[in-house]
């Protein structure tokens, strides 16, 4: 977050988010591994009294007192009964039975969402600058639900229960649990109740990309956030004795490698065990790696763990090579020894050189922090992808936000790599994941809530989605690092978040609790299942359609087989799908005209009416989109975009077409 505010345009347009007290009334609740309250990101200097709406507490526990909270960190609680029931007694020498964060993840996400500005922040000199949360004046309430053994649903549900009672405005959950129906998913159930109380729930999409159908947190009342890169990098170049140089990344800081070229060995040739190429603990033969740079393949164990394994075996450096699973995605780490991470192509070339050459040797040059890297953002390979595995008619993820190499606050109880042998302690750390992109959106949602306290969670989400961008300033489309090609709405949803535009979206697609209940009816949920999700009896007493659910994006499903006509015979006519949406005016009066951009020549798209005129605030106008297409092979995906504009505002919606 020494870079994301400027990357998101927050610093270039200070007038966009006026200095108002309303932002300081916003409370962002973070369900995670707790908090390191001494982090400067939770300094409350200059903050006014705690909002009168706050009902929460600062729970005491081991190494955590009531004075650990202040006017920034207004609440901190822990939920461990579910965890304790599984693991038995607490090992308090290992983790604190208190809101204190012994992991770092929770401090990182909380400070990303709403941390106070901290000048002179960096990780070992990397990414220097002023670190600040996306909503720097908002208050933070921490709910510790994740422990060394995981995050358990009974604890998570209780934390959401408490956060609702405490009156938070935004909930940030950088966690997930695979894909299960909404009525079986405690996060979805809790998020529904939060939504009803006007709380926006932002969740990470998951790190199971680039595989399709890999997302979690898919409920439409959740804002699901994928990850993109920043325009910042940390180059570390591997130079080989054959004169070739390969670009990699690293956050290593420490004693340099000896001068000149150093012998290099492939881990797969320095081991007696299967999968020794992965540099698993105890797998390297010290005689073969001593005083050498070791080439390790990425995968299975943690990247930083591989460096620790090389170091323990006597190696002096490491080149970490991506395999097909990660492609060209480069994630920087604060390794314990001089190391660089290279992409698959470079890794393959270096491996060929090392295993086939005689006396292979290399060096690693660390170039520090580089800015203005282009293109950026690109969709991170690890970011989970659609289609939506539960409700294909809802396009997910909703958007992407910065989630690669993010600097934010860290726990004083653990080193930056998280490995036990790392005795370094840092105030800030640089890590990657949709865990990092989620709190960016949580904080931005807090900013919008402060600016527009009357907006519903759906309106805030709509504003963030319809103003997200899908192309670079040069007009080229956002790229996907997993393919090197343009990304699609199944990768980036509505696009990359643009908070300055989201502040003034012109129009929003709003949704009420009734609309979500209608959504459950459209899914043909039983009364019991609806009652589970919504805690009420609700009669589905009319015809409900997923295609009329007022979501800010479109996911259109066509069947591959021939559809039948009215007589029950196979039809050769195009299949027609009609989707209706309602826009609410949240800007000045204006006339909006629709434009359609399509990569799907197989699909005919028309919108009726083509112009919507709004004469007063909160006026609602509906439109219908007709999609017609013939049959296509199963698993075919195509994409389009529908935009409404009055010349000043652009209200964009992605469209995905899937044949199944």
């Amino acid at each position: 977050t020494t870079r994301t505010p400027s990357f998101l345009g927050l610093d270039r347009t200070p007038d966009a988010f006026p200095e108002s007290e309303s932002e300081s009334d916003v409370i962002v609740g973070v369900l995670d591994t707790g908090v390191w309250p001494e982090s400067k990101s939770f300094d409350d200097k200059g903050m006014g009294p705690v909002p009168s709406t706050w009902r929460g507490t600062c729970q005491t526990g081991s190494n955590f007192s009531a004075s650990s909270c202040n006017r920034k960190l207004i609440g901190a609680q822990y939920f461990s009964q579910g965890y304790e029931a599984v693991v038995g007694s607490f090992d308090e020498s290992h983790e604190s039975k208190s809101p204190r964060d012994g992991d770092g993840h929770g401090t990182h996400t909380a400070s990303t969402a709403a941390g106070s500005p901290v000048e002179g922040a960096s990780l070992l000199g990397y990414a220097p600058g002023t670190a600040r949360g996306m909503a720097p004046k908002a208050r933070v309430a921490v709910y510790k639900v994740c422990w060394t053994g995981g995050c358990f649903s009974s604890d998570i549900l209780k934390a959401i229960d408490k956060a609702i009672e405490d009156n938070v405005n935004v909930l940030s959950l950088s966690l997930g649990g695979g894909m299960s129906d909404y009525y079986r998913d405690s996060v979805a159930i809790g998020a529904f109740a939060a939504m009803e109380r006007g709380i926006l729930v932002s969740c990470s999409a998951g790190n199971a990309g680039p595989a399709a159908f890999s997302m979690s947190n898919l409920a439409p009342w959740i804002t699901t956030v994928g990850a993109g890169t920043l325009d910042r990098d940390f180059p570390a170049v591997a130079s080989l004795s054959n004169g070739k140089k390969y670009y990699g990344v690293s956050l290593f800081r420490g004693a340099s490698l000896p001068q000149g070229l150093i012998p290099v060995v492939y881990a797969g040739n320095a081991t007696n065990v299967t999968s020794g190429n992965l540099c698993m603990t105890g797998s390297l033969n010290p005689e073969k790696v001593k005083d050498k740079i070791v080439l390790c393949d990425r995968g299975v164990n943690a990247r930083v763990q591989k460096g620790a394994v090389v170091k323990a075996a006597g190696g002096v450096g490491m080149i970490l090579a991506n395999t097909e699973a990660n492609g060209e995605e480069l994630v920087a780490d604060a390794h314990l020894l001089p190391a660089t991470a290279v992409g698959q192509k470079s890794g393959d070339a270096i491996r060929d050189y090392v295993v086939s050459g005689s006396n292979p040797a290399a060096s690693i040059l660390f170039e520090g922090t580089k800015l203005n890297i282009q293109p950026s953002p690109v969709v991170a390979a690890f970011s989970s992808r659609g289609p939506n595995g539960i409700t294909p008619e809802i396009l997910k993820p909703d958007m992407i936000a910065p989630g690669v190499n993010i600097l934010a606050g860290w726990s004083g109880g653990v080193g930056p790599t998280g490995v036990a042998s790392d005795t370094r302690r840092v105030e800030f750390n640089i890590i990657s994941g949709t865990s990092m992109s989620c709190p960016h959106v949580s904080g931005l949602a807090g900013l919008l809530k402060g600016a527009h306290p009357e907006w519903s969670p759906a309106a805030i989400k709509s504003a963030l989605m319809t103003t997200a961008y899908v192309s670079y300033k040069n007009g080229q489309r956002l790229q996907d690092v997993a393919t090197g090609k343009p990304s699609t709405p199944l990768d980036h949803g509505a696009g990359h978040v643009d908070p300055v535009s989201a502040l003034n979206p012109g129009l929003v697609y709003d949704l009420t609790t009734e609309d979500y209940l209608g959504f459950l009816c459209a899914l043909k949920y039983t009364p019991s299942q609806i009652s589970l999700v919504a805690r009420r009896n609700f009669s589905c007493d009319k015809t409900y359609s997923l295609s009329d659910f007022n979501y800010p994006s479109f996911a259109v499903i066509f069947k591959t087989g021939p559809e039948t006509n009215a007589a029950g015979s196979p039809s050769s006519e195009p299949v027609v799908r009609k989707h209706t949406r309602t826009l609410t005016n949240v800007g000045p009066p204006g006339s909006y005209k629709v434009t359609i951009a399509s990569d799907a020549p197989e699909v005919k798209i028309s919108v009726e009416p083509e112009v919507l005129t709004f004469s007063k605030p909160n006026e609602k106008k509906s439109y219908t989109v007709t999609f017609s297409a013939g049959s296509m092979p199963s698993d075919t995906n195509r994409f389009a975009r529908i935009e409404w504009s009055d010349g000043k505002h652009v209200v964009g919606s992605p469209v995905s077409f899937s044949w199944s």
Binding site: D32, G150, C151, S186, A193, L532
Partner: protein
């Protein structure tokens, strides 16, 4: 084993009776006692859900789920950080 207890989240149908905390607790306690003399409520949920979590054997969970007013007895799920 059959006697091994696991954590379950019990979702209870919301009654039309007044929503007092005591009433909820009595109702939850009463449903739980019908399947287990020893099981204790770990958490009660009133805002995010309507119900409670408890430790049950699989047989007790099955018995509880068949009771009137019980919407679901969901086994604990482990989530992970992203």
């Amino acid at each position: 084993s059959a006697s091994e207890k696991k954590t379950y989240i019990v979702h209870v149908e919301k009654s039309r009776m007044p929503a007092t905390t005591d009433y909820h607790l009595q109702r939850f306690e009463s449903s739980l006692r019908q399947v287990s003399d020893t099981a204790e409520m770990m958490y009660t949920y009133t805002n995010a859900a309507h119900g409670y979590s408890t430790r049950l054997t699989e047989a007790e969970a099955v018995a509880l789920s068949s009771q009137a007013g019980i919407l679901s007895v969901l086994p604990e799920t482990r989530y992970e950080l992203h």
